[in-house]
Amino acid sequence: MKASLFITCLADSFYPNVGESTVRLLDRLGVQVDFPEGQTCCGQPAFNSGYRDEAKEVAKTMIEAFEQSEYVVGPSGSCVGMIHEYYPLLFEGDRKWEDRALKFVKKSYELTQFIVNVVGKTYLGARLDKTVTYHPSCHAMRMMGIKHEPLELLKNVQGLQLVDLPFAEDCCGFGGTFAVKMHEVSAAMVAEKAQHVLETKAEILCGTDMGCLMNIGGRLRYEGAPVRVMHVAEVLWEGVREGVKA
């Protein structure tokens, strides 16, 4: 099986480790991974702010970059959600692009969805003796319907103790440009989320989206809280390495 990594612009610049973990996990599962360098960003920041023309121009770059791919896999429910929910809308009635856009939509997957539902694996031979709590990102959960996939993967990590996050489904207040535009409310929201994370006493907070994790992690660090903030891919890959050692 072949798949192309859609890194997301945030992970590319800020969290290359998420990309690396994603690639190594897929590689271990026997997926042949490539990285089309023509990719940039899904266009979500512009689209959600109301700049559709601008988003569409950037979306074209993505469609072109992944034209040859069999599967496209990204470590973000939000960015893949953007592709699924809004690319059909952006290219509706565009004779030159509509078909290409729809093909792209069909082959795009969020990482945990891809591993569980396409590759068909939940046990990766991972081991990690840590307490972990999981924040289900709004877009992953509500746009992409990703609910059980990340949890199943985490539950199959030996030694990993998964603790429930209170009010888990509440938004962390990121919302892309919302965090800057409406920063006062956003700050109140993330403060509450960080509080809930601390209540779990977990050593690691993990999630499927670096946007939310950057927000919550930034707040936790602001408060001086010693919680590690990791993408699911990082948790799983660290677990695989530990598992190999053991």
């Binding site: 610049s13 990285f35 023509g38 266009g43 601008e54 006062e184 927000n215 930034g218």
Partner: protein, 479 residues
């Protein structure tokens, strides 16, 4: 209509966030309502099927609104009711004032009605010296405070019992305690007198049934019944779209509305009012008027992107789950309808994007509202649609327009994207500490007020790719 809020959105929000009593009260109640909704909708089973059914019925009515309105009007008239159509808020008020004058009314008692709130009836009555009393406990309380409701279902959600006790004691000179029975007993004593004195009773209308010409009201306090039966004249305000075709369709909404609104399986009272007292009836007003209010609604009809918002049954579920609403309360939304539904509806009803077009930005687009809505209105999509219009109209800040143009030019060209990311990375070491930026310049300020910002990695993923791909078993291809 050009109505402007006293303060800009950002200011309103700032004030609200700073009001700890308000936020604590709002959070406490929305938590309770949301929890109640979840368990009561689960208990019903097939919640999704009920939602689909609700959405189907409402969409059907809205698509054929002319037909059903015609049918409703005919049937109300058949039963001797008077029907008035108000195009605007002003017209609605004028119609009501005319009825008030004709009846020589001195005192009006009301049961909760968002539409009468929307057209500002109370103010107009007070101006001509007619006494108006809100009989819904929550409405009664905020009326005493001289405030507007801040929640569709729980108007006084932002007040706690201590504030209410103080207010009651202030107006009565009594020495009440803050327990619920004492407070409600006081309100009941006051309101009983008012029910008996009133010349006109005003109610809202949760649904009007076209086939029978009936008005349906869901209430919990019994005041709705008194308002519609004790005074000699009953006037119902109804939003133009609040119709269902037949009595049978009511079942769906008896299931959906109370559960979504308060988490109740059913409200204490479901009143179906078939116009005024007929011969042989034991109770009921002697005269019945229905004021059907358009006030911007017909403009939403035929607007592909927004017509579905007319499906709204004003249950307030979207408010209860909205994390933004929970942190700012209702008044910050600046108009009658708060929360996600308000952010979608207000710019449409007001038909003034310049004043109200920034409301849809007061959302993190988490989609909780859409998930909660019993009639499946895609609220978060509508928020984005509004934003797209706002931008198209050129109303977004100039700097932002330029920024997104530049962004698009850069991100549509992978080469340029790579270069600019590199440039950005070069600047960061001046600002960062231990891989984080703790205080950022200008626009980052909003972010770094409350959280740290990660500095970009020394090497981006794409720069690491060739080395990484060499280490893979499957040997990822270079492109």
């Amino acid at each position: 209509m050009s109505v402007k809020p006293a303060l800009p959105l950002k200011e309103r929000m700032k004030h609200a966030i700073a009001d700890e009593t308000l936020i604590a009260a709002v959070k406490k109640t929305t938590d309770r309502l949301e929890g109640g909704k979840l368990s009561s909708s689960e208990a019903l089973g097939n919640w999704e099927e009920w939602r689909k059914q609700g959405s189907r019925i409402r969409s059907h009515v809205v698509e054929h609104l002319d037909y059903y309105l015609g049918q409703l009007i005919e049937n109300v008239k058949k039963r001797g009711g008077h029907v008035h159509i108000a195009d605007s808020a002003k017209e609605a008020v004028d119609i009501f004032l005319r009825i008030t004058r004709e009846k020589n009314a001195k005192s009006v008692i009301k049961s909760k009605s968002m539409v009468s709130e929307e057209v500002h009836v109370n103010k107009a009555l007070e101006d001509i010296g007619v006494e108006v009393i809100e009989s819904d406990l929550g409405e009664y309380i905020i009326q005493l405070f001289g405030e507007a409701p801040s929640h569709i279902i729980v108007p006084a959600i932002h007040k706690n019992r201590y504030q209410i006790k103080d207010k009651f004691n202030e107006i009565s000179g009594e020495n009440l305690t803050e327990d619920t029975p004492t407070l409600t007993a006081f309100a009941r004593r006051q309101l009983r007198k008012a029910f008996l004195q009133a010349d006109i009773g005003v109610s809202g209308c949760n649904f009007a049934i076209a086939e029978t010409g009936s008005i349906v009201m869901f209430t919990n306090e019994g005041n709705g019944r008194m308002v519609t039966t004790l005074p000699p004249v009953h006037v119902a305000f109804m939003g133009m779209e609040r119709l269902i075709p037949s009595f049978e369709d009511l079942e769906t909404f008896v299931n959906l509305l109370p559960r979504s609104a308060t988490g109740q399986k059913i409200t204490t009272y479901v009143s179906v009012i078939n116009g005024a007292r007929q011969e042989g009836d034991l109770d009921g007003a002697q005269e019945f008027h229905l004021i059907i209010v358009d006030n911007g609604r017909s403009k939403i009809l035929g607007d592909e992107e927004f017509q579905e918002v007319l499906n709204c049954i004003r249950c307030g579920a979207c408010l209860n789950v909205c994390p933004v609403y929970r942190h700012i309360g209702g008044h910050a939304y600046g108009d009658v309808y708060p929360g996600p539904i308000g952010a979608v509806l207000t710019p449409l009803l007001r038909d003034d994007m310049e004043t109200w077009g920034d409301l849809p930005y007061a959302s993190s687009l988490c989609g909780a509202c859409t998930e909660a809505c019993p009639v499946r209105i895609p609220l978060h999509d509508m928020l984005v649609r509004h934003r797209a219009r706002y931008v198209k109209l050129g109303l977004a800040p100039k700097w932002e327009q330029m920024a997104f143009k530049a962004w698009s030019k850069t991100f549509a060209r992978p080469g340029r994207y790579k270069l600019s990311m590199k440039a950005a990375r070069l600047m960061v070491p001046f600002m960062a500490r231990d891989g984080f930026i703790e205080k950022g310049p200008l626009n980052m300020m909003g972010w770094t007020h409350a959280r740290h910002f990660p500095s970009p990695a020394k090497q981006s993923f794409r720069e690491q790719w060739s080395k990484l791909s060499g280490e893979l078993k499957g040997g990822g291809d270079h492109e």
